[in-house]
């Protein structure tokens, strides 16, 4: 693949490269959901046969979800998205508890941690959390450690298994010492689930967050899985749905869609990961060849980085302007996390990995997905090169060696 010297042919002239922000719903997911808006609209809690049938279908969907993460259906709480699931995980701990998070967690985790006595772990330059740091940060009062499976901005995959072992050691110590405070590992796997295994036993986690929205499923649907050892506490009170942990009439269509989306992801995960990582690598090579001083953030080792994510920086340029130029060329890309972009602050993730203000301001996050094609990559590479050259000329940045 070579960088096109003229505008490449593209079927639509529109390329979406922001799958970490939102994924288009798979048509099969939409089809699965449709009946539950109309003929199967019943409230699962109502007493007649038609509604009981809907209740059974919700429970079957729960079983599909549980199966996909290697868990039992009874331990799955359905929520309105990953943010709520993360909040629910933090609702399990006592008021005087200590919690450990790392500096590149999602805002929902950082905000929850902020309510408690907490330690925010530093990360390495590639975003990795050193399990040794977790061990050092543990205190007798620590009840929760919350670490993302994979970061949605720079793509770092965390050593969850090793961190889990650190926690297991501390639990044994507490048991031997007669200390009764629980200690749990919560993992937000929202950004990872499309490409990485999310089996709760092999990860060794006590709680796991998933989001349908990042899996070609509907928005505002997610789940928190919690092991039998975790005592969940409700944040939303009412009719006692979801075992009393999350009241409110079930989002039936959403749950059905979520189950369908996760099952589809399960089927295609390995092949899809290979396919997008090859496209991602092509994009990276094209851009690196064109702009040798471009900075790629995140782990160098491909095994430690999300296969669909490429985070690049063009120091001296303003990514916000590049996004607008790219939008005019039909290409939608992100600048770091969508939340930070609207606040015009340097992203906390880039700050945590020690990126300079200049590097952070010139950062684009390119994320691929199920519908991304080779044509898309070629067109996007050309458009990014155009935008970068145009802005470079305007501000007088040169890219020669």
């Amino acid at each position: 693949m070579h960088m096109p010297s003229v505008k490449p042919e593209h079927p639509t002239g529109n390329v979406y490269l922001d799958f970490a922000a939102a994924t288009p719903m798979d048509p099969r997911v939409v089809d699965a959901m449709i009946p539950y808006f109309t003929e199967k609209f019943y409230n699962p809690s109502a007493p007649y046969a038609l509604s009981r049938q809907v209740r059974d279908e919700v429970e079957r969907a729960r079983a599909v979800l549980a199966h996909a993460i290697g868990a039992r259906p009874g331990n799955v709480v359905l929520t309105a998205g990953a943010t709520e699931a993360n909040n629910l995980a933090f609702a399990t701990i006592s008021e005087d508890a200590h919690v450990i998070v790392d500096a590149i967690e999602h805002e929902s985790v950082l905000a929850c941690a902020g309510i408690f006595s907490h330690k925010t772990l530093r990360v390495e330059a590639d975003g990795r959390v050193d399990p040794e740091r977790v061990a050092k940060a543990l205190k007798p009062e620590t009840e929760l450690v919350s670490i993302e499976l994979a970061n949605g901005e720079i793509g770092t995959i965390q050593p969850i298994r090793e961190i889990s072992q650190v926690l297991a050691k501390e639990r044994s110590r507490r048991l031997a010492a007669g200390e009764t405070r629980p200690l749990h590992l919560h993992v937000d796997a929202s950004q990872a689930a499309a490409y990485l295994s999310v089996n709760v036993s092999s990860l060794g986690v006590d709680m796991l967050t998933l989001s349908a929205a990042k899996l070609s499923g509907p928005k505002q649907v997610g789940l928190l899985w919690a092991s039998d050892d975790v005592r969940l506490r409700p944040l939303v009170l009412g009719g006692g749905q979801e075992g009393g942990v999350r009241s409110g009439t079930e989002n039936v269509a959403g749950v059905i869609g979520f189950a369908c989306a996760l099952a589809l992801a399960d089927e295609t995960r390995t092949d899809e990961a290979k396919r997008v990582s090859r496209l991602r690598d092509q994009l990276q090579t094209l851009l690196c060849t064109e702009f040798p001083q471009m900075i790629v953030s995140g782990p160098k080792n491909a095994k430690l980085r999300l296969p669909n994510l490429l985070h690049v920086s063009f120091p001296g340029l303003e990514a916000r302007r590049l996004v607008i130029l790219l939008e005019r060329l039909g290409v939608s890309v992100g600048t770091g996390s969508a939340c930070a972009a609207s606040k015009m602050q340097i992203s906390h993730v880039l700050e945590a990995i020690g990126a300079s203000r200049e590097v952070a301001a010139g950062s684009l996050r390119l994320t691929l997905g199920r519908t991304t094609t080779e044509d898309d990559i070629l067109y996007a590479a050309w458009a990014i090169a155009e935008a970068v050259k145009q802005e470079s000329a305007r501000v007088g940045v040169t890219w020669e060696n």
Binding site: R320, R321, I324, S342, K343, M344
Partner: protein, 361 residues
């Protein structure tokens, strides 16, 4: 390259077109977004980040620089605190007048000229004659914003450009934006006080001040009709928010924030609601020299009717205007702006008519 113009860019339609017109006229344009306020109020997310994104989109389209200048400190001190202080003392201020004086034609203009600008420009609906101190009404009488510019020192207008002041209608402004592919022509007009937005003044004031129950008194009879929740929340002519049960519609004729009393009437012809004269203080003149005593037209609210008056200067800072016909009383603290034909002469702050409450003193 042409002369250097620093343009205040808000993310709206008017400043977007201003940028395009300046470029077409051959100027070298540098756009500045003034971030004046970024605080969210209860129930209202301040849209500044969205406005900035709109401004940026226009600048990238036109290929010009956009810088963000943080003006929050001076905006807070001279606009927000001024507004709160005025309401606390029973006056109804014009925050836009202050913003133009201290931020747009204060900090912004000063810094622009210090950085070497030949001109400053804004998307105001106003006209001037660069090289002179003159400020003239906009071609579009429905949008004319000169009411908000009376406190700006005239020497700044010598080096100011108002690129859209000559355009006849807002519809034309939008059409010219669309023609140029600026992608902003459908953005709605912003109105009201920018940092208060749709929550309204009441919510804003109650974010700072405590409610305080007081009497609602009928002006004609002195009878207590009911209660209100803070005299500072009421302004002359107001109808809404009076907790006095049924009965006819009642209008505020005056407030006394010291005694925490609101005076009302149900009679639209009540003498307290009408006046033939107003006392003005804190007067300012565009040219720097007070206008001669004599006949002018006056406006007491933005795009309000231009009413003939006889003006007399009573001392350096104060004046007196006499209307030919009785006009509705205007809340103390509002601006009265004097015009001589198309030209803005200056203005003053309307003082409370103490006569209205004489009987209750």
């Amino acid at each position: 390259m042409g002369e250097l113009v620093y343009l205040g860019m808000s993310g709206g339609v008017d400043s977007a077109l201003s940028a395009a017109l300046l470029l077409e006229a051959g100027y070298n344009v540098k756009a500045i977004y003034m971030r004046n306020w970024s605080k969210d109020l209860p129930g209202f997310k301040c849209p500044w980040a969205d406005d900035l994104a709109d401004a940026e989109r226009v600048c990238v389209t036109l290929g010009i620089d956009l810088d963000v200048w943080d003006c929050e400190a001076e905006y807070k001190a001279t606009v927000v605190d001024y507004l709160l202080d005025a309401y606390e003392h029973g006056r109804t201020p014009n925050p836009d007048v202050m913003c133009n004086q201290t931020v747009k034609f204060g900090t912004f203009a000063e810094r622009a000229f210090a950085e070497g600008a030949d001109f400053v420009a804004t998307g105001h609906y106003a006209q001037n004659v660069p090289g002179t101190k003159k400020l003239l009404r906009a071609a579009d009488a429905h949008k004319d914003q000169t009411y908000f510019l009376w406190r700006v020192p005239g020497y700044l207008f010598e080096r100011t450009l108002f690129p859209i002041g000559h355009i006849a209608t807002k519809a034309e402004v939008r059409a010219l934006c669309a023609e140029r592919g600026l992608g902003i022509e459908t953005k709605p007009d912003s109105d009201g006080i920018c940092f208060i937005g749709p929550v309204g003044l009441r919510t804003f004031l109650l974010d700072t001040f405590q409610k305080k129950q007081g009497d609602v008194i009928e002006w004609e009879t002195g009878k207590v009709l009911g209660t209100h929740d803070g005299a500072f929340l009421f302004t002359v002519g107001q109808r809404k928010g009076l907790n006095i049960g049924g009965g006819p519609a009642r209008y505020v004729v005056a407030t006394d924030t010291l005694k925490n009393v609101v005076y009302v009437t149900s009679d639209l012809n009540c003498p307290a609601l009408w006046t033939r004269h107003m006392e003005l203080s804190d007067m300012h003149w565009i040219s720097g020299e007070p206008a001669a005593n004599g006949r002018y037209v006056v406006r007491t609210r933005h795009t309000g009717a231009l009413v003939p008056v006889t003006f007399t200067l009573t001392d350096n800072q104060c004046g007196f205007i006499e209307f030919d016909q009785p006009v509705k009383t205007v809340a103390a603290g509002q601006s009265a702006v004097l015009y001589d034909g198309q030209e803005v002469c200056g203005g003053g702050i309307i003082e409370a008519d103490k006569g209205i409450l004489e009987q209750f003193m």
